[in-house]
């Protein structure tokens, strides 16, 4: 055994010399000849018989070589060398195949890396698939919420959940007051929250149940980011007192580095929820503290079952807690945590994924088609090699080596491309797409795409090699197999169909994006910027203090050169947060109260008179608020033209009085003006009727949401922003100031459609390009194949034009078939992404016409070029063509 092993090892290292076999066989043949001559044959006859007896010399040599242990490593190297030589001989084929593979692999990998977290990857929590968000929703708040007044009822009486936990509605600004003060985001969790998620702090511990109670100890858990950025990963942080909002809090724990906040709004400091069950019944006007609730379903309980079981509890609560007017508008909602996090981008993600898979399928079809063409072109070479004694396994191995090499090259380029594309996606992508900043190249999917393209290449590359080489292929005139041509044609038809779908999808999105870009906002955005000042709450606790600060800031900015207007509001159109009310909150004096029901959502802003100047929103009737109004005690309002038409159809609204129960300031307001409509529901949502309340210089008008300043300047924005910052720094040097131009804000709103359009456009382009390469390949193949026929036809009197028609009709048939299938498929699928389209119907004939025109134009070019070449062939040459 040992000696055998050693011998093998010896032969593995010291190979036999190449000439040995030759010498040995030579000797054998000579002996054979000598024996035959001795038996009385002539020398030449003896030699002939000896050679015939011996059989395939090459075959024998190969078989002898194959006896050596590890012989195949040699042939691999040999095959690789041979393949590389082949690639050099046909660089265009090689480049096209590698580029096709690279685009397919690269695009798929990049897109999958982006959508993986949105659609597929399990949430980073224990049993993430059983986590749900539970609560009420209504038309102004589409994310589930609960109130302290009924949460405990629900929690104690529910059946479908293992446990329920709560967090504050959203993070709020808070200050870390230490030697190096920073403004942070603070959030509340109850003691059950982290255990529900299956997350434990990396350092320290979670809140204890006895700490999560009213008047409990002031303790916090901090984020990993804060621990790293502010405390330099100091392991002694647990137990330390830090000064939050002007009073000390003890750090009890640190969140894990990759902790993902379930609402995707991250926070730096977590306080215990510390709800007082008894006090919740009366707090906040009897509603209790608003909160977000997560729950873990019991094993085997589905969401719809849970909903069914929670419905009685919900109805009971609704009838007690919710005012009758809006009762109909409030619903119970239970969604999986994944939907809570990503529902509004799932459709876009699916569409991107499907379109990139379409590109991948075109790429695979292309590789298959190219490989088949190559295989057919090399049929003769294979036949010759086989006749010289190469075994079929050997030929197949050779072929495998080539396709594998191509796939590996394609994969390498594709991965580089994927890295580049991902970078582009990240730059292009809107802020609203969750997890994007965490997206990294996904090597599982890269591997999958590489394997897939490998299979495409192998399968179709091997088809010709698997067939026993036709003896006829050895003859000068190559007979082409009919079957594979049919297969290639159907591949091309498929490619054209798929690119038609991509193209029409891209055209529709492009049209929709144009509509978004060119629509009128009803306000000016050039030269206007907003200033948000994050006043630390603990130093500016009262409405009076807030007002004093903002009025000083307003006055200081007004003194700057070039300033045309400085308005103050709580929000600006066209998108983002804005105050919401309902038409049922309004009663016009002298008219009956509107019928029961939630009514239509309204946009609400509380503004100073300069708001309208700074955004250049015209007052259509009546007058604007004046500076004098700000100091008066009167309650005034301006309504949008849309709201005027709703409340006062055919009447003059000026001077009429409206009772509003918006917020906590229920009062009668006098309408002084009607403003023109502005886009206020984002770029693609329909506009809401709008109310502008006057922001008077009285403390109660300033204790709501933090206001922002709107500055319209005639001078360069850059310089003005610098001056504004220095003015505010003079008032309070520690407050963080964020400025943003209105153009940036509007552009940000268009980011999503821009991203989707750009990506789908890119995929459509790639798909079309590859489909056209496929078409070109087939047509030029057909043209070459029929060269002799062309010669005969021309000799019999066909004109060159006839020839052009003959060849291009091949292509036209493929284009028409593919285009028709594609058109039917796009009409069928367009309905699916209706919700991504703005003011374009999914069956917009113009955009379909554009897509068809583009496809036909490019495809015809791909047909005519080889057809043209065929037409130019000299008949004499064509007749002699093999």
């Amino acid at each position: 055994m040992m000696t055998e092993f050693l011998t093998r090892l010896r032969f593995l290292i010291f190979r036999k010399k190449h000439g040995e076999f030759h010498d040995e066989v030579q000797f054998h043949v000579e002996q054979s000849i000598a024996a035959k001559v001795a038996a009385g044959l002539s020398v030449s006859e003896a030699r002939r018989q000896a050679l015939v007896e011996f059989g395939g010399m090459e075959r024998a040599r190969e078989e002898c070589n194959e006896q050596r242990p590890g012989w195949w490593t040699d042939t691999v190297a040999q095959d690789v060398r041979y393949a590389l030589r082949g690639f050099r001989r046909d660089p265009i084929f090689t480049i096209v195949v590698i580029a096709t593979l690279a685009v397919g692999i690269g695009a798929t990998t990049a897109v999958f890396s982006v959508v993986d977290r949105i659609l597929f990857r399990s949430l980073p929590y224990g049993h993430g698939d059983r986590l749900v968000s539970v609560g009420m929703v209504h038309s102004l708040e589409k994310q589930e919420f609960m109130m302290g007044s009924f949460f405990f009822d629900w929690r104690d009486n529910q059946k479908p959940f293992e446990s329920m936990a709560i967090q504050g509605t959203m993070p709020h600004a808070c200050d870390l007051v230490e030697n190096n003060p920073v403004q942070l985001e603070c959030l509340f969790f109850d003691a059950k929250f982290l255990p529900l998620l299956g997350v434990s702090p990396v350092l320290g511990r979670n809140f204890l149940p006895e700490e999560d109670r009213p008047n409990g100890p002031r303790i916090v858990i901090i984020s990993y980011g804060l621990w790293q950025g502010h405390y330099n990963l100091d392991p002694g942080i647990v137990g330390r007192l830090i000064d939050v909002e002007g009073s000390p809090a003890r750090v009890v724990g640190v969140l894990p580095k990759d902790f993902q906040f379930p609402t995707l709004q991250s926070a730096d400091v977590i306080f215990p929820m510390a709800l007082d069950r008894a006090a919740q019944a009366t707090a906040n006007g009897g509603f209790g503290t608003p909160m977000r609730t997560l729950a873990r379903l019991r094993p085997g309980v589905s969401i719809s079952q849970a909903k069914l079981e929670m419905e009685p509890l919900f109805e009971h609560t609704r009838d007690i807690v919710i005012p009758p007017g809006v009762r109909k508008d409030v619903h119970l909602s239970i969604r999986s945590l994944r939907d809570r996090e990503t529902e509004d981008v799932q459709l876009a993600a699916w569409i991107l994924l499907c379109s990139v898979l379409a590109v991948l399928s075109i790429a695979c079809a292309n590789v298959a088609s190219l490989m088949m063409a190559k295989g057919e072109a090399r049929e003769r070479e294979l036949a010759v090699r086989s006749a010289l004694g190469a075994s079929r396994a050997r030929l197949i191995r050779q072929r495998l080596t080539e396709t594998t090499l191509l796939s590996l090259f394609g994969a390498a380029v594709g991965l580089a491309l994927a890295a580049g594309l991902l970078r582009v996606f990240l730059d292009l992508a809107p802020t609203g797409i969750p997890f994007l900043e965490r997206a990294g190249l996904d090597f599982r999917i890269a591997l999958f795409t590489v394997l897939l393209s490998l299979v495409c290449g192998e399968l179709f590359g091997l088809l010709p090699a698997l067939q026993r080489p036709h003896a006829i292929a050895l003859a000068a005139r190559a007979a082409k197999t009919f079957k594979s041509t049919v297969l290639r044609r159907s591949l091309v038809v498929g490619q054209i169909a798929v690119s038609m779908v991509l193209l029409s999808g891209a055209a529709l999105l492009l049209r929709s994006f144009q509509n978004i870009e060119k629509q009128r906002l009803g306000m000016q955005t050039g030269g206007v910027f907003t200033v948000r000042i994050a006043l630390p709450w603990f130093r500016y606790k009262t409405g009076q203090k807030q007002m004093d600060f903002y009025l000083q800031a307003e006055a200081a900015i007004r003194r700057l050169p070039g300033i045309r207007a400085v308005g103050i509001s709580d929000s600006v159109p066209p998108g983002g947060w804005q105050g919401g009310s309902r038409s049922s909150d309004l009663v016009v004096e002298g008219k009956p109260k509107p019928e029961q029901g939630p009514g239509e959502p309204l946009a609400v802003r509380t503004v100073t008179p300069d708001y309208f100047q700074s955004l250049n929103i015209p007052i259509a009737r009546g007058r604007n608020f004046t500076e004098a109004d700000r100091r008066s005690k009167e309650s005034l309002m301006i309504i949008s033209r849309l709201l005027a038409a709703r409340l006062f159809p055919g009447e003059d609204p000026i001077g009429r009085r409206v009772h509003s129960s918006y917020g906590n300031a229920a009062a009668w307001y006098t309408v002084v003006g009607v403003a023109e409509n502005v886009k206020n529901g984002g770029l693609v949502e329909p506009d809401a009727p709008e109310i502008y309340y006057l922001r008077r210089s009285a403390a109660e008008n300033w204790d709501g949401r933090a206001p922002l300043l709107i500055v319209d300047s005639a001078l360069s924005t850059e310089a003005t922003v610098r001056w504004v910052r220095s003015q505010i720094a003079q008032l309070d040097p520690t407050v963080p100031v964020a400025t943003e131009t209105l153009n940036e804000q509007v552009s940000k709103l268009a980011d999503r459609p821009r991203f989707e359009t750009a990506l789908l456009g890119f995929f459509a382009f790639c798909g079309l390009l590859m489909a056209v390469i496929g078409l070109y390949g087939v047509i030029s193949f057909v043209a070459t194949q029929r060269t002799q026929e062309i010669g005969v036809r021309m000799a019999l009197g066909a004109t060159r034009l006839d020839i052009l028609r003959l060849i291009s009709s091949e292509g036209v048939r493929l284009i028409v078939a593919g285009g028709a299938i594609g058109l039917a498929a796009s009409v069928a699928t367009a309905q699916l992404f209706k919700s991504l389209l703005y003011e374009v119907t999914p069956h917009d004939p113009v955009m379909y016409a554009v897509a068809i025109f583009l496809l036909v134009l490019v495809a015809l070019a791909a047909t005519l070029i080889p057809a043209w070449a065929a037409m130019k062939v000299e008949p004499t040459v064509a007749l002699r063509y093999e």
């Binding site: 000696t3 055998e4 050693l6 011998t7 093998r8 032969f11 040995e20 076999f21 010498d23 040995e24 066989v25 000797f27 054998h28 000579e30 002996q31 054979s32 000598a34 007896e53 011996f54 059989g55 395939g56 075959r59 024998a60 078989e63 002898c64 194959e66 006896q67 050596r68 242990p69």
Partner: protein, 113 residues
């Protein structure tokens, strides 16, 4: 001339080993000897002889050296190694057992095969 008989899988190795047991020999000689001893029943196709010789050599059962043939030509001589001799013994035993068993099944005595 009788039609050449297909050799059982693995039998060729045994024949070669047995032939070489009588002394070093080149490939031609091995083929001739087998043919002679079998009275022309067994004709070893060169296409399978050399792969078999190579295989046995790679297994370490035979070794090859270049030498001069009887008519003074350069030829490659194969000889049995110690491992080869042992292998031959085992294979002979196996062969005897097998042919006896086959003979029993066919109702003949082992000598008749």
């Amino acid at each position: 001339m009788p039609t050449p008989t297909e050799l059982l899988q693995g039998t060729l190795d045994l024949l070669i080993l047995q032939t070489l047991a009588t002394g070093p020999m080149h490939g031609w000689g091995v083929a001739q000897r087998i043919q002679q001893l079998s009275k022309d029943v067994l004709q070893i196709g060169q296409g399978s002889l050399y792969p078999a010789l190579y295989r046995l050599e790679y297994k370490g059962w035979i070794r090859s050296d270049w030498g001069n043939s009887e008519n003074n030509r350069r030829a490659k001589f194969y000889r049995l190694t110690a491992a080869g001799r042992k292998q031959l013994e085992t294979e002979l035993e196996t062969w005897d057992r097998l042919s006896a068993a086959v003979g029993l099944v066919l109702g003949r005595t082992a000598e008749a095969s």
